[in-house]
Amino acid sequence: MRPEDIYQSPEAAAYYKAHPDFFHFATPADLPKDLIWETNDTDTEFSDPQAKLGGVFNFAFPVFPPTLRRVGPNSNNSFRGYAYDAYDLALTFPNPETGKTIPGTALSWAVSKDRRTVYYKLDPNVCFTDGQPVTADDYFFAFYFFQSPHIVAPFYNDYYSREFAGITKFDDYTIAITLPDERPDPLYFAMMYPIPRQFFKEFGPDYPSRYQYRYQPTTGPYQVLDGDVRMEQSITFTRVKNWWGDSRRYYRNRYNPDKLVFRIVRDNDKIFQMFVLGEIDALDIRTPKFWYRLNNEPVFQKGYVEKATFYYEKPRPTYGIYINTWKPFLGDLNVRLGLQYAMDFQRVIDTFFRGDYQRLNQMFEGYGEFTNPNVKARPYDPDRAMAYFAKAGFAKRGPDGILVNKDGTRLSFELTMDDSEMRKFLPTLVDSARKAGLELRPEVLQRTTQFKKILEKKHDLCFSAWATVGKYPDFWQTHHIDNAIETDADGTVKAKRQTNNITSTRDKELSELIDRHRIAKTEQEVKDLGWEIQQRIHDEASFIPAFKVATYRLAYWRWLNFPKNFGMKASDEFIETSVFWIDEQKRAETQNALRTGKTFPPQNRVYDQHNSEN
């Protein structure tokens, strides 16, 4: 198919015309002459050249996705990671192993002198999974698509209008993307996915319903064929024949199975049983319970099923206790420091999580060099806790062992938690706090109720977590004074509600640092300011870090093969990088062994080359 034969949407064309300041059409002659083009074709490859294509990979998923659309209502569900994010390829990528930019659908790129514009030369071989070649117009269409109200996704509308300043077409395979201002790493911010304009021929106000269960073609290796979406039962992905990435560095020897079958099984116990019976090939085990239960299963003991633990390094959910500094006594730094030493999260990790998790050191961990390694969580130590409480005036123990101050006020705070599985370690925290003379009054609320209470800033202490994404830590939402206080018409200052600054941190100097961090222009500046901010936040002591899951753990039948490093540093999901392959010969051998009773040595491997605590 020639580029000019591909469908062009008249609505999109009209939209480009109406916004000439965003959509620019130029000629190859307009391309600046002094650009330095980069290709980075010498970076680490992470797949295994021995990988074989083929086979069917069976996997279980606990819920049927409410939609197969990539954007729009309900699209932000947990299946989208498997359906799109794992396979769709953008212009460039950070290498999950080294962090350096590697080519994606672009073969080479160049950053302008003012660091606001990135130029890309596209790979003409790249096709969508439905066979449509990817050209510059698909990137134009992507902006039209994401800025359109038809997708009913205000976040995308806002993001793709505000975070980008324009796109330029030089020819069918040369484009440039311009950012609104100078960024420390323009390549990261200009990362863009093409949208298949031919598939969206019928794009209009009825997009959410019309495309509800239609799989949008991607630049990746898998597509969903007609009839492969079995409602409430399974979704099957089929590999594209002669995928363009098979000959490209960084993409060859990956995405090996011919078919990926996601079976919908609602109960975790049942998924476990299906795995043991060999009905699914692999099991991503996040709960310690199932991980250790497998040790007693004959399939593991006889070596038919293998286990692997992989340490990864990426931003993690910030589990911990958020102290509302707006509340009485909690505004006192000494009380907060006392609280830091009075919560025995290590004991929670050792007992409730069987020593499998690690202590989180601070809120902004896992950002690589942007995380200050000198900031360490304060250990549990009742002696130091009591010393700080004494400084705050709570020096004497009452008859029940709880500290009291001069006025007879007891050192007692409410600890709000949601009703998830985690509520079960609350007694350990209460127990450990009592030793330090602190009373915790647990309050367990449903998640939405808890969240409402926290955002209204009505809690004393709350156990919660923020999901974290991005390349750099974002301090503004959680620690800037703008999100901490507001002033009423009559001049009274009060806690600002409905913001993510749930510790009500309102330090002016810290806020200035955060403002400078937000407009930092080089990575060095981002790092230096970030480290300083993290240290200050640590000194403020309004967040008690709890734990992090440093690993992902996989159990799989032995016919699944992995490269020698197993996974990638920055990936917490084995399907995301898809470097495994299925060995049919080994499958036959194993199935034969199951019949004859032949055994293999049990395999339980640990890959801790990326353990940040090494």
């Binding site: 409730f352 009742p382 123990r397 008859p399 079960k424 009592r434 640990v606 353990n611």
Partner: protein, 441 residues
């Protein structure tokens, strides 16, 4: 009852109740259980009954918390009496500790530690002598804090080791590969560069909750949060007793007052009262409780009041009809002629004669409140999770079928309790039934 002299009729009913053996003995067993629950802190407690230390006697279950310092220990928080007991007997200086029969508290988190066995280069778990497959192993400071932590894989030390001082600060790191030390990094001054091997018999592992019965002295094992199941059951029963008392007191007070008033005064009081009761009874009560308790997180008293707010209605129906019937009798008219006021008539004459209704309902009301409270806790809308509760235990049990001791113990207790209450209820109903020769099947 109600400070009134029982009339012969009532006395006869009680006699009849006594003669129904199944119900009567159930009643005695229940009373015994409630009495036992009443002296709970001396039977099930992590505090010692008596401590003899340096010639002085202490009674920790009475009065205020006694810090460890008092007994020459190095901490000022509450004494760990079980540890003290071991400490004293090891010392052999004539000091002793007398613990209650079940030395655990309902809110206490207990962990069971066992020493790993070292054999042929591998660490084995003591009970089955199999290599410790994968997990964490510990060495503890004398004060109970963690000193060193290893990862173990297939019985061999493998992965990072971390060492902490008495205050919990990280002071050393080492890396082990396949049972061999790869490198050692001291992080604090004063530590020798040479790594000192731990004494092999000191490496312990922590048995994950829930622990099966018998381990670590827990007769019925521990639950998912590390609570002793026996202590949980016991204190859960106490909670149910207290709940029943609050529930009965309030439902009866409201039910009797409103029911009597409607029945005795009749007319528009009855008319308006009945309509209000009808409206109130049409509120979907379970949803309301769930809604209220999800935003309020009530303690026991408030939770009971919420339940009471919707359960007094049934009582009013019976009291209303009972009062109507008695009021129409001639002796009431006679009393009135003699000049008795409303108050006197209601309390001296009508109430004693409706007693059978009131008494008959007590056991069934108790059974109802036990199931309601348990159901709410089971659904997670009841008491805070640290409070001992049978409903919470049932929930844990159903989430952990592979730890059957949780579910089985609480189910047995619940069934036995409800059966006993029902037996008593049947007996009372039969005893108070005016038709003497009917049998209740």
């Amino acid at each position: 009852m109600f400070g009134l002299k029982l009339n012969p009729n009532t006395r006869r009913k009680l006699q009849r109740f006594k003669s129904i053996k199944r119900g009567y003995y159930s009643f005695l067993v229940l009373v015994f259980c409630v009495l036992v629950a009443g002296v709970g802190p001396w039977l099930v407690n992590s505090r010692a009954l008596i401590v003899k230390y340096n010639g002085e006697y202490f009674f920790p279950t009475l009065g205020r918390m006694i810090p460890g310092e008092t007994f020459g220990l190095d901490y000022e928080y509450e004494t760990n009496y079980r540890a003290l007991q071991e400490h004293f007997s090891a010392e052999g200086k004539g000091n002793w500790v007398l613990m209650p029969p079940i030395p655990y508290d309902g809110t206490e988190v207990c962990e069971v530690r066992e020493a790993l066995v070292y054999q042929d280069g591998r660490y084995l778990t003591p009970h089955d002598k199999k290599p410790y497959a994968d997990g964490t192993a510990y060495l503890f400071h004398p004060n109970g804090r963690t000193q060193r932590v290893w990862r173990v894989l297939d019985g061999k030390l493998h992965g990072m080791m971390y060492g902490y001082d008495m205050h919990g600060d990280l002071i050393e790191k080492a890396r082990w590969i396949d049972g061999k030390l790869d490198h050692y990094t001291p992080l604090a001054t004063g530590l020798s560069k040479e790594f000192t091997e731990p004494r092999i018999d000191q490496i312990q592992y922590i048995l994950p909750y829930p622990n099966q019965p018998g381990l670590g002295g827990h007769i019925l094992g521990t639950d998912e949060s590390g609570h002793d199941v026996t202590a949980r059951l016991f204190y859960g029963f106490r909670v149910l007793c207290i709940a029943s008392v609050i529930y009965l007191a309030f439902t009866y007070a409201i039910g009797i007052v409103v029911g009597c008033a409607m029945g005795y005064f009749g007319g528009w009081v009855d008319m308006v009262g009945q309509r209000l009761v009808e409206i109130w009874s049409n509120i979907p009560y379970l949803y309301l409780i769930i809604f209220l308790s999800s935003i309020l997180v009530p303690n026991l008293f408030w939770l009971m009041l919420i339940i009471v707010a919707f359960s007094w209605i049934t009582m009013t129906y019976y009291m209303r009809t009972g009062t109507y019937r008695e009021k129409a009798r001639e002796y009431i008219s006679a009393t009135r002629l003699l000049g008795a006021g409303n108050i006197r008539i209601i309390f001296r004459h009508i109430l004693p004669n409706t007693l059978s209704t009131i008494v008959t309902f007590i056991p069934f009301m108790i059974a109802a409140v036990v199931t309601q409270l348990t159901a709410l806790d089971f659904l997670g809308f009841g008491l805070p999770p640290t409070e001992p509760s049978w409903g919470e235990m049932l929930r844990q049990g159903t989430e952990n079928f592979d730890s059957p001791w949780i579910l089985s113990s609480v189910t047995v207790c619940l069934v036995v309790l409800l059966v006993l209450i029902t037996f008593v209820g049947e007996a009372i109903r039969e005893a108070f039934d005016p038709r003497k020769f009917t049998t209740y099947q």
